[in-house]
Amino acid sequence: MSLFNKVDELRSEFKAALASSPALSDLERMKQKYLGRKGVLNDLFKKIAEVEADRRGEFGSLINQLKLDIHDLIEERINDHRAETQSVSAVDVSLPGVEYERGTLHPIESTLRDFKQIFHRLGFAVAEGPEIETQWRNFDALNFPPEHPARDMQDTFFLKNDSVLRTHTSPVQVRLMLEEKPPIRSIMPGRVYRNEAIDAGHYCLFHQVEGLYVDKNVTMGELKATLELFCREYFGEFVKLRFRPSFFPFTEPSSEMDVSCFLCGGKGCRVCKQTGWLEIGGCGMVDPNVFKAVDIDSEKYTGYAFGMGIERIAMMKYGITDIRLLFENDVRFLKQF
């Protein structure tokens, strides 16, 4: 092989090496290999005596040209590398991103939204009523006799004109049944008031969600199934539900509903007071006396009603142990939700 061919061979060998995207250190090594004092091109140049005399000038300029090309290409690559590393180090990517302040829904609101969403899926509309009610709608129409101990169960705020701050959302049922004909299927969220001393577990006002379904052939089995589905959706698939007979003037039969404690799974803990159950609300079949008060034929229609305290459930869910936190509105509290 002639020395001329050797020059071509080195050129293609270099090109291949350059094509394999050498790192900065590789480029330095290539520089030494091809251009160094003891590099391959100098070695080759030393063999110039072996070339025929008339082609020595040609051979020399060929090697010089290759040297220049290799030098330029390597320097170009090295500059590329430097530029790359320089642009990275110019920006401190660990600087904080610009903060976009997020607003928040109050935990009572977000709990209520969760409720609405689930009941909406189950075909319930939303109905509302005022916080100040007549005694007729708050008590009488709901089958509270004037002298019954049941009126003691809820200590009521009265206005000077004998109206009351509603003690439950149930008067909305009365309004709804007077306004609409069955079928009626609504939930009724709202603020209610109780004349109780304020402490970690009690506040003079709180929020309830009431539910009502009146139609032909409404059964207690369906009431149970509806609430059970609600609880599974809200608390989780594995929650268990327990119904206990209870007493409310406006339902008969009446029931309390408990869910298995989601903290201890029913084994008993501080939150469920070692019972394994958490009381979440009351329910039952609409009492015929209530139907009578709103002029619905209780032989033709049946209905169920239920009610749950939003604060109570929000507190369970978020681990809040003092109800007053919900009404203090400390932004450091609010921003957690």
Binding site: P96, D215, M220, A225, F247
Partner: protein, 794 residues
């Protein structure tokens, strides 16, 4: 109310652990939990027998006792009580006992003699205040058992939390009745054997009922020559499990029968009953009676009295009189068993502001036909415990008999309501278990409802009984729901959710304020609010309903600012109420939205400057709600307002809906609060959202031009903006004010405004010439109207 597990077994055969029993009762509506009525340290207090007692060699007042704790190896214990003696059984705190006050019993030397424990007084065991000597236990007590077992007989207490309708379950027999129905076993009521003397009770006392409405029935018996003393262990243990302290054999007997039958009874000392009669009548106005609790009570005719021939001796169904109380030297007793109207007892208890065990039961309704049984049971028990002579017969004033109700009950109706398929024979078993006599034909029952169940009057009440005993948790769940085919009404709720979501999305924190305020805390935000006052407020600072959201918001702001949280973006959407005589509640309720911003709207960050709050931010927030969400334009007009500096009235069309501005100091207490506040009434007229119709987006390029003008300072933005729009022609699609400048380099009395104008056409590309023409027309309009001049064109 606490009941005893052992006691229940007298009336019904139970083969269930107490925990399971409590669960069964709970599932049937008698909420039950096992409770520990005795303190933990009783476990190491053991019954010991004093084998010998000798004087301590070096201390006069101490005794050295050898006490057998049942293991046959008597222990040496030093005791300082004067009453300790050989042969007694005593409670011994053994080594390792820790008393509630922290005192620990250790092996100790007292004046050189070793003591292996301590003999306890009643006070040391917290059983009474008696500390005169050590407590002496029953002679036949088993040695070595702990105090818990000694006192309760190894019983378990079950606490019942009863609903007010279940007066029948206020005694062991009532609870046992539910258990009998639940377990399908028989209820056993104690049979009574009476030994009566030949003296007729009716010859010794008569009963007159003046008000048979208030007292339909009153029965009495007399026992003579009883001996008041201590009750035997079995009765003390049972009362203990039921949470009742033993007093003496007669009082204990009355309490025992109360806890057995649920029927309250009263015992009088016969020697103080004058005139050989009992009169039941309403109290006279201002009539007085000294009651058992040592108070003198002044009465009126809302209270029913039990009187003898001369004076009142008890407040019917509530509390006995001090003047006829049974004492240690009482020998002759008059026993009362009566039925009082629940309403009269309730009113009386309210008047006296006194709730007793008896009033609790009478208010909820007792059994008028169960009183002779309870009376006989009491008489027999007293004779058993305290001896004496029972005179013949009851004196029973019961002029008109209260008959049990007969209720028609349809089995298929019951199944239709519960969603069950219970058959009639199972229903019949349940009625039988509940002691409800009945007949049945073709699924229709005639049920006799006993008078001990005043809560049951109707078919639906019996449906609950079936459901409750069958078990709510056994009612099957349908696989499908029936959902009515009906369109749901759109409600303002959806509108409010939109507003709340929007504000949260743009960085605001929602608050829920207290709706109750002090009467003087009603800043007039709208100027016409008249606040509603509570008749029975919880406290002075919560005596009225909020008439606006401002005060609640200011309090929340103050709370946070005082905790170094002063960059606030808060809002509340809630109901406020004001007086309205046209409404049947006397109130008008409106939804209000209050928004508060203080401090910096955006904090300074390394790459972003801080933004201070001003009233135009609030204007922008409001516009984003009204315009962007609901498609309504607001108008803003400056006004005077005590609560705000630079107040701005907010208008929706002609209607003023709110006010905003920089808050002035509301009161001294809230002086830390400053910021921008707006409060608007949210009316249903807002609708549920903007009506959206798609507008085609132009495919032709938009061209921007900036317009800078010099104009008289007094010309307001609104006028300039209107003039631009009027003269712009169809191609101006957007205009935005982006700079205002007044001051140096501008003639005084003038200001410079710069607008960014954007021109675009739907059908073609606009030429420079066309845009120039529009631009010049806009400028000319401004020149003509307000003498504006072009400052520089960019």
């Amino acid at each position: 109310m606490n009941i005893s597990y052992n006691w229940l077994k007298d009336y019904v055969d139970i083969d269930l652990e107490p925990e399971i029993l409590a669960e069964k009762l709970t599932d049937a509506g008698l909420e039950a939990v096992i409770v520990e009525t005795m303190p933990d340290f009783f476990k190491t207090i053991l019954v010991g027998h004093v084998v010998s007692r000798e004087k301590h060699p070096d201390a006069d007042k101490l005794s050295v006792c050898m006490i057998d704790l049942g293991d046959g190896e008597p222990k040496q214990i030093i005791c300082g009580a004067p009453n300790i003696d050989a042969g007694q059984n005593v409670p011994v705190a053994t080594i390792g006992t820790t008393f509630p006050d922290g005192m620990k019993i250790k092996k100790a030397k007292l004046r050189g003699v070793v003591s292996n424990g301590m003999v306890c007084s009643q006070r040391e065991l917290d059983l009474s205040d008696d500390h005169s000597g050590i407590m002496v236990l029953d002679q036949d007590a088993k040695l070595g058992i702990d105090m818990k077992t000694y006192l309760s007989g190894d019983d378990v207490s079950i606490e019942l939390d009863l609903t007010p309708d279940r007066s029948d379950a206020l005694g062991h027999i009532g609870v046992a009745r539910d258990l009998a129905a639940l377990l399908g076993v028989d209820l056993r009521k104690p049979s009574i054997k009476l030994t009566e003397s030949s003296t007729k009770t009716s010859s010794m006392v008569s009963v007159e009922l003046e008000d048979t409405q208030a007292c339909p029935r009153y029965a009495a018996r007399i026992v003579r020559n009883v001996k008041i003393g201590e009750s035997p262990a079995w009765i003390r243990q049972r009362l203990q499990a039921a949470g009742i302290r033993s007093i003496n054999n007669v009082v204990d007997a009355a309490n025992y029968v109360l806890m057995e039958t649920g029927h309250p009874l009263h015992t009088f000392d016969l020697r103080y009953i004058e005139g050989e009669k009992i009169i039941v009548r309403k109290a006279r106005d201002k009539e007085k009676i000294p009651t058992l609790d040592g108070k003198e009570r002044e009465l009126d005719d809302s209270v029913l009295l039990i009187c003898d021939g001369v004076k009142p001796v008890a407040v019917a169904g509530i509390i006995g009189g001090e003047n006829s109380e049974v004492k240690d030297d009482t020998t002759d007793l008059l026993l009362e068993s009566a039925y009082f109207d629940p309403v009269i007892v309730r009113r009386g208890a309210k008047k006296l502001q006194l709730a007793t065990d008896a009033s609790h039961r009478f208010e909820r309704g007792t059994d008028p036909n169960g009183i002779t049984y309870a009376l006989d049971r009491l008489a027999a028990l007293i004779v058993e415990l305290a001896g004496g002579e029972l005179t013949e017969g009851q004196v029973d004033a019961y002029p008109s008999i209260i008959k049990p109700l007969e209720v028609t009950f349809r089995a298929d109706r019951c199944n239709a309501i519960l969603g069950t398929t219970i058959d009639t024979s199972d229903m019949s078993d349940i009625f039988h278990g509940l002691e409800m006599a009945h007949s049945e034909e073709n699924g229709v029952f005639q049920v006799i409802v006993p008078t001990f169940r005043p809560d049951i009057e109707r078919e639906i009440d019996l449906v609950e009984e079936i459901g409750r005993i069958y078990g709510y948790n056994n009612i099957p769940l349908p696989a499908h729901f029936s959902i009515a085919n009906k369109t749901n009404k759109k409600t303002p709720d959806q509108m409010r959710e939109k507003i709340i979501d929007h504000l949260a999305a743009i960085g605001f924190n929602q608050i829920y304020g207290n709706g109750l305020l002090a009467v003087e805390e009603h800043p007039l935000v709208f100027g016409d609010e008249e606040a509603l006052l509570l008749a029975n407020p919880l406290s002075r600072d919560m005596a009225s309903m909020r008439s606006s959201l401002l005060m609640g918001m200011a309090k929340v702001a103050d709370y946070n600012i005082n905790r170094r949280q002063s960059d606030l973006k808060l809002f509340e959407l809630g109901q406020v109420s004001t007086l309205d005589l046209d409404s049947d509640t006397g109130a008008r309720e409106t939804s209000h939205l209050g928004i508060f911003i203080s401090g910096e709207l955006q904090p300074k960050q390394w790459s972003v400057d801080s933004v201070a709050v001003d009233v135009f931010h609030m204007k922008g927030v409001l516009n984003s709600i009204y315009q962007d969400l609901f498609g309504h334009s607001l108008l803003f007009k400056s006004q005077d307002h005590d609560l705000f500096s630079e107040a701005i009235g907010v208008y929706l069309g002609e209607e003023k809906i709110g006010v905003m501005g920089n808050l002035n100091q509301i009161n001294q207490a809230l002086k830390s609060v400053s910021g921008v506040y707006v409060e608007v009434r949210i009316s249903e007229k807002l609708g549920l959202g903007r009506d959206i119709q798609y507008q085609k987006v132009s495919i032709y390029p938009a061209v921007e031009r900036d317009l800078s003008i010099l104009i008289d300072s007094h010309v307001v933005y609104e006028q300039i903006d209107e003039t631009i729009r009027k003269n712009a022609g169809k191609s101006l699609v957007y205009s935005r004010l982006y700079d205002i400048y007044e001051g140096k380099s501008i003639a005084s009395g003038k200001k410079s405004l710069t607008f960014r104008l954007v021109f675009q056409n739907n059908k073609r590309t606009l030429t420079e010439k066309e845009i120039d023409k529009d631009f010049r027309r806009i400028l000319k309009g401004l020149e003509d109207a307000y003498n504006a001049t072009l400052r520089e064109a960019i």
